[in-house]
């Protein structure tokens, strides 16, 4: 089911119909002839789930890309052509992500795709993007350990979120005992593996680390919260590092609040809880719990204020919140536009080569740069939850942190680097001087 015509913002109604008809004819009658529509506009694929479990997070990102395309078209588009969004719904179904990606690239001939949220969906579309040589912008914080030629990672790598957050707790809160709680899938497991190695390298003993995994959508947190309380009463300052995913967070925080665990006793720092997730909870009992991100809506910066205003006007909702993955799409989109203009073409090879080194302002007053490993530089902020569902930034890194594709903490990956400019390799081993991993 394609719903592209609904989101086509530039062409008048009659031409839109004509285009659709022409495209239909072209596909129906002559499979070898290119669709006529491709000449007039540059197509941008949007691959975010609009139904199913992940719709809760991804629908906003779809709207963000449509908003960005709308804004860009107001400025005259790219290379003198209007941009046209092609929205598909992979319905939170991982194999369907690959199918829809293939459809976007081969049938709709999109020049770039903005999409995916979960790591498993990204892994599912990777082979498609490699095979068909297209470009994916991935906007979510993830576990790292990956650098692909066709993917640009605009979310945080672990060293841009998890490690600084732990550093903050160690330095500012003098935390000595750690609970690593997460949902049972690849992102929390890898992140916790990195964190465990990091904590041990800082002299934290094994018995001071408690690791706990829960299924997706876990809703009965009584035992785990009681365990955390017990773990926290061993006479050392304790903190929880939470990689609990989306839906399970609301019951988790409710249970924390009800059992009376205050942030001044056992602070919880979360990597997957942002403004959107807090919209479903009364945040007063959560005052002071923390989140680590590269962007907060509450950050006072003229760019940010302009963006929030335009976004709320676009969605016609003055209360609509913004969040970190949205900012990642904003940066990624602007980088892509600049790269296309620099390359003078939407040819994937030219754009991929043009992207490293491209700089685009982020919404917090800095300028992010695309690195040769296809990750970007970002500032890291630690925010405390306020009573109104927003965050108060209590700490930030002095400058921008470059994203590491391969974690320096893990034995298997500390010698690896990704470099698509000079080495043309995503997993170059600096010790054996070979491309192809350890």
């Amino acid at each position: 089911m394609r719903i592209e015509s609904k989101f086509q913002t530039s062409a008048p109604m009659s031409r839109r119909k004509w285009l659709a008809a022409a495209a239909g004819l072209a596909i129906g009658l002559s499979t070898f002839a290119p669709a006529k529509a491709a000449d007039d506009t540059i197509k941008v694929g949007v691959l975010h789930s609009l139904s199913g479990t992940m719709a809760i997070s991804e629908t906003t990102l779809k709207d963000t890309v449509l908003f960005l395309i709308d804004e860009q078209n107001k400025k005259g588009g790219v290379l003198g052509k209007k941009l046209e969004a092609v929205v598909v719904d992979p319905a939170s179904n991982w194999p369907l992500f690959a199918e829809k990606a293939r459809e976007l690239i081969t049938k709709d001939k999109v020049s770039v795709v903005f999409g995916c949220w979960t790591s498993v969906s990204r892994k599912s579309v990777l082979p498609v993007f490699k095979e068909l040589n297209s470009i994916l912008f991935y906007p979510v914080q993830y576990e790292g350990e990956e650098s692909e030629r066709n993917v640009f990672y605009t979310g945080a790598a672990p060293n841009q979120q998890a490690i600084p957050a732990v550093d903050y707790l160690m330095k500012e809160e003098k935390v000595k005992r750690w609970v690593l709680a997460g949902t049972d899938y690849v992102y929390p497991r890898t992140t916790n593996k990195i964190l465990e190695a990091y904590l041990k390298s800082k002299g934290v003993a094994q018995e001071d680390i408690m690791i706990n995994y829960t299924p997706f959508g876990h809703s009965d947190w009584q035992t785990i919260v009681a365990d955390i309380k017990k773990f926290g009463s061993a006479g050392k300052k304790t903190a929880v590092v939470s990689t609990i995913n989306g839906d399970a967070n609301v019951p988790f925080y409710k249970e924390l609040g009800n059992q009376g665990i205050k942030a001044t006793d056992i602070p919880v720092v979360a990597f997957s809880v942002g403004e959107e997730e807090l919209a479903g909870i009364d945040t007063k009992p959560l005052l002071g719990h923390l989140a680590a991100w590269n962007y907060f809506q509450s950050i006072k910066d003229p760019e940010n204020e302009k963006f929030i205003k335009a976004w709320q006007a676009y969605t016609k909702n003055p209360k609509r919140v913004t969040n970190d993955p949205m900012e990642a799409h904003v940066i990624g989109f602007n980088m892509w536009v600049k790269a296309v203009e620099k390359a003078g073409s939407v040819d994937p090879d030219k754009v991929i080569d043009a992207l490293p080194g491209i700089k685009a302002p982020n919404l917090t007053g800095g300028v992010s740069e695309m690195l040769p490993n296809h990750h970007i530089t970002k500032p890291v902020f630690i925010g405390e939850i306020k009573g109104d569902g927003q965050f108060d930034v209590v700490w930030k890194t002095p400058g921008l942190v470059p994203g590491d594709a391969w974690s320096k903490e893990l034995d298997g990956s500390k010698d690896l680097i990704g470099d698509w400019v000079t080495l043309k390799c995503g997993n170059y081993n600096t010790v054996t001087k070979k491309c192809g991993g350890s």
Binding site: L50, E172, Q222, G232, S233, N258, G280
Partner: protein, 542 residues
């Protein structure tokens, strides 16, 4: 909790001593010029370090207004204008005063913003407040202050605690002060062994998690008698806590069981009694939760005073909404599919997707906020376990719903007709029962009860379009395990699964625990394919 280590020791001690002093000598202390004004102005500097320093200086100034300013800071009512370096207090009724002088001010300047706190400062402030309120006339505040001192065991407040202990009349407060005193003595370097052993006895008698934490935190280098006293006290507390953790697991199991029962009870009717494999059951629960959301929204905007009653209002409405949709579904789809379980399964699965997407379109894909009424927030201590009010109420509510449903099936004519139709449709029809009407009403009843479940579940879970999906598997598990067609089976099934789950979880972890439960059920079904309480007799053949 070793909070004190996190504060700067000098600062926190200063806070305690000076604030206690300020409180006692509130009337007599003359105002000091200079350092006090500097301290207040420093709140406008903006950085956390400045605020921390300002608190220290403010307390050291022992100015009579210091306590007022600290309270305002704690409540987020202290405002500062960074340019003019002026600081204001906004009273709870909205009146603005100049913080330094206490003079009334017309309005806050535009640039003024609340003085920010982080966790470290919050701890400093609340530690200071505890020292301040040890002698408070308010009983609860005294107890809170004593408990706070128990955690921080700051020896500078020892004289105040001892004075308070002597003057105290209330038994609970006396106990709290005695424990606070014991905690201080235990950590005091120059306290005698006799004092320390007495202190250990007091702390051992308290016997909870915090006592354990305190004993664990005692620095090494104590005399042999004290060290062995601590070790034996810790062992005793550990034994005690191990016993209580069994009670705690049982309670958590009951609570989880009540949630399972609540989610499954509607399905026990539509699937258990009617035999419809109803995959849209979870969506009825979701509709109930969204009804609660709509009711609360209406109350928030129109009648905020009624908020505590929002759930009571939502229960009948959720029953009606979900019940009406249930009747609609039965009349329009399911009645054509009786006796064709595979088609019913697919059709109801499709209906569940339609309902999810409809709600997603109508209310948006993100979570909706459903608040807890005040009587469902918080927790109380029963012995060494924490019981949260929302879980307790849900348990009571579930049992009430179960009892009402049972009574309805047993004592009303509709209940009689329902049982008659499900046991022998043709015989019932021959007796003049309008079977198709009864079918619709039975399905409506099951759906309505699922809607009621949604009201309760909105208190502990996300209100999102996916709410129902997370309960559908568990509901089927409970009904099949308990025995299809038997409400008592559903009850016993839900509670035994809940308790088994909660005893497995601490040992195996949440993920493995869940898998273990599923494996156990599979094995059980092999042995007893009809569940715990199988229906016997001719009804089984029908």
């Amino acid at each position: 909790m070793p909070l004190i280590r996190l504060l700067r020791p000098s600062l926190s001690r200063l806070l305690f001593a000076a604030l206690a002093l300020a409180f006692v000598h509130l009337a007599t202390q003359p105002a000091l010029a200079g350092p006090y004004e500097d301290a207040v102005a420093q709140f406008a500097a903006g950085s956390f370090a400045d605020t921390e320093e300002a608190i220290g200086k403010l307390v050291a100034s022992a100015h009579p207004r210091a306590a007022t300013i600290i309270v305002a800071l704690q409540d987020g009512r202290l405002f500062a204008d960074p340019d003019a370096k002026t600081v204001f207090i906004k009273a709870e009724d909205g009146k603005v005063t100049d913080a330094a002088t206490g003079d009334a001010v017309a309005a806050l300047p535009d640039k003024a913003s609340a003085v920010r706190l982080n966790n470290k400062l919050r701890r400093a402030v609340s530690g200071a407040m505890a020292g301040l309120t040890l002698l408070s006339p308010d009983l609860n505040k005294r107890i809170q202050a004593a408990q706070s001192v128990f955690k921080t065991h700051d020896e500078t407040v020892l004289p105040t605690v001892e004075a308070a202990l002597k003057a105290e009349k209330n038994a609970a407060a006396k106990q709290a002060f005695a424990e606070a005193r014991a905690a201080i003595l235990l950590f005091k370097q120059d306290a005698s062994d006799v004092d320390k052993l007495d202190a250990i006895a007091v702390i051992k008698a308290r016997g909870d998690q915090e006592a354990m934490a305190l004993l664990t935190g005692v620095p090494a280098g104590q005399s042999a008698a004290v060290t062995s006293g601590i070790a034996s006290a810790k062992a005793a507390i550990e034994r005690n806590l191990a016993l209580w953790s069994m009670v705690q697991n049982a309670w958590y199991g009951l609570s989880l069981g009540s949630v399972l029962l609540l989610a499954a009870i509607g399905l026990a009717i539509t699937f258990g009694v009617m035999g419809v494999i109803n995959m849209a059951h979870g969506e009825m629960v979701m509709l109930g939760a969204y009804t609660t959301f709509v009711v609360q929204e209406a109350i928030r905007t129109r009648y905020p005073a009624l908020f505590d009653y929002s759930l009571l209002i939502a229960v009948p409405l959720a029953f009606l909404v979900a019940g009406a949709i249930g009747v609609l579904i039965e009349r329009s789809v399911i009645r054509f599919l009786y006796g064709r379980p595979l088609e019913t399964l697919l059709a109801t699965w499709g209906l569940s997707l339609i309902q999810q997407q409809a709600v997603r379109t109508l209310f948006g894909p993100t979570n909706r906020e459903v608040g807890n009424p005040s009587w469902m927030s918080g927790a109380f201590e029963l012995g060494q376990i924490t019981i949260t009010y929302n879980r307790l109420w849900i348990l009571c509510f579930t049992l009430a719903v179960f009892a009402i449903l049972l009574a309805m099936l047993r004592y009303t004519s509709l209940g009689l007709e329902m049982r008659a139709v499900t046991q022998n449709r043709r015989m019932a029809a021959s007796m003049g029962i309008a079977t198709s009407r009864v079918d619709a009403l039975t399905f409506g009843l099951g759906s309505g009860i699922a809607g009621i479940a949604g009201v309760a579940l909105s208190q502990i879970d996300n209100v999102s379009p996916n709410l129902g999906q997370s309960y559908i598997i568990d509901s089927f598990m409970v009904v099949v395990f308990g025995g299809v067609g038997n409400l008592w089976g559903t009850l016993v099934g839900a509670f035994s699964l809940g308790i088994a789950n909660k005893f497995l979880e601490p040992v195996a972890g949440a993920v493995l625990g869940k898998i273990a439960i599923l494996v156990l059920i599979i094995l059980f079904i092999q042995k007893r394919p009809r569940g715990l309480f199988a229906l016997k007799g001719r009804a089984v053949e029908a």
